[in-house]
């Protein structure tokens, strides 16, 4: 019984710790000034929110840019990551270790190491300062996550169902649509959520490759965070969390208890 109480207390402490940093952000977003030593703001206001939703703040534009970039990057990562994950999950082959290492490398080598060189390359290709270039740059950390998750998913996949479907008269695309896809879908969604979030949180690559002209939400947020407008910062931060949380809530049933198989 004592162990149960310890467990409960530890659990409560953990939950509190997980929520705590988000609390002042939420309060700030509706505060009209909040100075030491006030535990709560003296005056409340929704002006931060109304400004965040106004066109001139660039927040909605940033939200749209982030959404566009993260979605396209995720879609591209699915297109290349699912086949690669299948190869890695189902087969043993020579050089597999090398492929795995190449896949992990972009995640273990910090973006700041690649960004300067990449900027030079993209400059030559005319890809700097625009959304397409930023999407391509985001693929560097996004593809590995997608592929590694899919490798884990295919590692648990039983190909005999595909063979069975073929022998029952299904064409290859029918096999994929009716047998393979439903089987890998939960894992695919997990991978896609991860890919989306990796792109969604990306700061440095967007800054370097976008050259400031591609204003994703993190850049907008950073701008306000470093200019002392805590109320706006709070509102944008909450806006920044929402889509991910929403996607999570929608996919929660696929994710429950089954965390991403990041480790190959």
């Amino acid at each position: 019984m004592r162990a149960d109480r310890v467990r409960l207390l530890a659990g409560m402490a953990l939950a509190l710790w997980l929520v705590l940093p988000l609390v002042p952000l939420a309060i700030w977003s509706v505060a009209h000034g909040w100075r030491f030593p006030d535990l709560l703001p003296v005056a409340w206001s929704f002006k931060a929110w109304s400004h965040a939703f106004s066109a001139s703040s660039g927040v909605l534009h940033g939200l749209g840019q982030s959404m566009l970039i993260a979605s396209v990057a995720t879609a591209l990562a699915i297109l290349v990551g699912v086949p690669a994950g299948r190869a890695l999950g189902l087969y043993r082959f020579r050089g597999k270790q090398l492929v795995l290492l190449l896949l992990v490398a972009p995640v273990l080598v910090p973006p700041i190491a690649i960004a300067p060189g990449l900027h030079g390359v993209f400059l030559q290709l005319g890809l700097t300062g625009g959304v397409p270039g930023v999407i391509l740059a985001h693929l560097i950390p996004v593809i590995p996550y997608m592929t590694l998750v899919m490798a884990a998913v295919f590692g648990r996949f039983d190909t005999s169902h595909e063979a069975q479907a073929r022998s029952l008269g299904a064409r290859p695309w029918q096999v994929f649509a009716h047998v393979t896809l439903p089987a890998i879908l939960p894992g695919l969604l997990t991978g896609a959520l991860f890919a989306f979030l990796v792109s969604w949180s990306q700061y440095l690559l967007t800054l370097v490759i976008g050259g400031g002209r591609v204003q994703t939400l993190p850049l907008v947020l950073y701008g306000f965070a470093t200019s002392g407008r805590n109320d706006l910062t709070g509102a944008i931060a909450i806006l920044y969390i929402l889509p991910g949380a929403l996607v999570l809530a929608l996919t929660a049933r696929f994710l429950t208890g089954r965390a991403p198989g990041l480790a190959p």
């Binding site: 001139s56 703040s57 030079g120 030559q124 400031g212 002209r213 204003q215 701008g223 109320d231």
Partner: protein, 404 residues
């Protein structure tokens, strides 16, 4: 910084001095330029940390541009103009001479010097702008940007003068000159600090101490002088190291940015903040960030004033449209709008005496924010800005001798 020159020389000689298109543009009439600008798109890179300024640009200015000229203005928010200098430089390095990303920059000081030295600015056109006539180019503080001749490479936008803010409820009688400020700091441990350079505002505070150590600005006017610098710098570092133990957190850490200092001031951790643009104080009070009892002041031995500008990079693909934007920004109406307390409160870069009677009346009707010291009061004791080479030397010296 001197090492900058060698590789840049290679560049300067390699690059073509001016394209034919630029020459053609400069030979056009203003009406032709406006016609050329129609339907264009201008990417204006500017500091984006103040929502009032953002609103003024995105709503007011962009609205007029769209309505009257069919020009689309994209305000690109940045945190540091140096990043944009670097961007244009990198473009030049990559041979992008006509299709650059940047059409207009809000700029001044060492960033302007860098652009000019590296031949990154589009120059020699400002007299084409009709509203250029409102600018008093006879004023050395306008014709020189941190001591660097403007040479028709940029167009003035605002004038500002450094001021200090205090909470009158906490510090009713603030020190009014540099010597008493330094004494005050020692008498009130932990209640003062300044942002570490290269923060723009922190660097400006340093220059005040530097000028104080030099016994006034007179011996520092003009080009950089290493002997004179070493002499004054020794005294300056001595002063700063002497007050360091009495600073916030005993001077172990300095704020990284002026925003952090503002935050410290807001929470009463320090007694003073300061800014190159005193209208920011009023905005902070309006936003609820700072107490209503905030007041501001200049120093009786003077505070530094300067002018900030807009600049068109050499490789802007929308120069005509950018010129129309600059012309609009200079207009009496636009300058009046941003001078309004509730809009921005920025001091004009034009001679009000040269504007229309309506604009004059508008300026006369402006009631200043109680927290913002008036430009006229500040102007009573103004110091000139030092040339950019002094500035970089002071920043580097601080890093080596004080903030390590």
């Amino acid at each position: 910084m001197l090492r900058l020159l060698a590789p840049l020389m290679l560049f300067t000689f390699a690059a073509e001095a001016e394209t034919a298109a630029d020459k053609a543009l400069k030979s056009m009439t203003w009406d032709a330029i406006v016609a050329e600008a129609r339907g264009g798109e201008v990417n204006w890179f500017m500091w984006g940390g103040a929502d009032n300024i953002n609103q003024y640009v995105s709503d007011h200015i962009a609205g007029i541009l769209k309505r009257d000229y069919d020009i689309t203005l994209n305000r690109v928010p940045i945190t540091d103009a140096a990043d944009i200098v670097n961007l244009v430089l990198t473009e030049k390095e990559a041979g992008i001479d006509a299709k650059g990303a940047v059409d207009l920059i809000w700029i001044n000081g060492e960033n302007f010097r860098s652009m000019k030295q590296a031949d990154l600015a589009f120059c020699g056109y400002t007299d084409l702008l009709p509203n250029d006539a409102l600018v008093n180019w006879e004023n050395p503080a306008v014709a020189n940007d941190f001591g660097v001749p403007v040479d028709e490479c940029e167009v003035p936008w605002n004038t500002v003068q450094f001021a200090f803010a205090h909470d009158s409820a906490v510090t009713p009688e603030p020190p009014r000159d540099m010597a008493s400020l330094l004494d005050w700091i020692k008498a009130n441990p932990g209640r003062f600090t300044y942002p570490a350079p290269p923060d723009f505002t922190g660097s400006a505070f340093l220059r005040h101490v530097f000028i104080h150590a030099a016994g006034g600005p007179d011996s520092l006017i003009g080009p950089f002088d290493q002997t004179r610098f070493d002499e004054v710098a020794t005294k300056t570092w001595a002063i700063l190291n002497e007050i360091e133990p009495f600073l916030w957190r005993e001077g172990q850490t300095y704020p990284n940015t002026i925003a952090q200092l503002n935050e410290l001031f807001a929470n009463g951790e320090v007694a003073f903040s300061f800014n190159y643009d005193p209208s920011q104080f009023g905005l902070a009070v309006q936003a609820g960030t700072w107490p209503e009892s905030t007041r501001s002041f200049g120093l009786t031995d003077g505070t530094i004033g300067n002018t900030n500008y807009t600049l068109i990079p050499f490789n802007s693909p929308n120069k005509a449209a950018a010129m129309v934007v600059q012309n609009l920004l200079l207009s009496g109406d636009a300058q009046l709008e941003k001078a309004k307390t509730e809009v921005w409160g920025a001091a004009p870069a034009i001679e009000i005496s040269r504007t229309s009677p309506e604009v004059k009346a508008g300026f006369a009707a402006i009631v200043g924010h109680p927290s913002v010291v008036s430009a006229q009061d500040l102007a009573k004791a103004a110091l000139p800005e030092l040339q950019a080479d002094w500035l970089t030397a002071i920043e580097a010296g601080w890093k080596a001798s004080v903030g390590n």
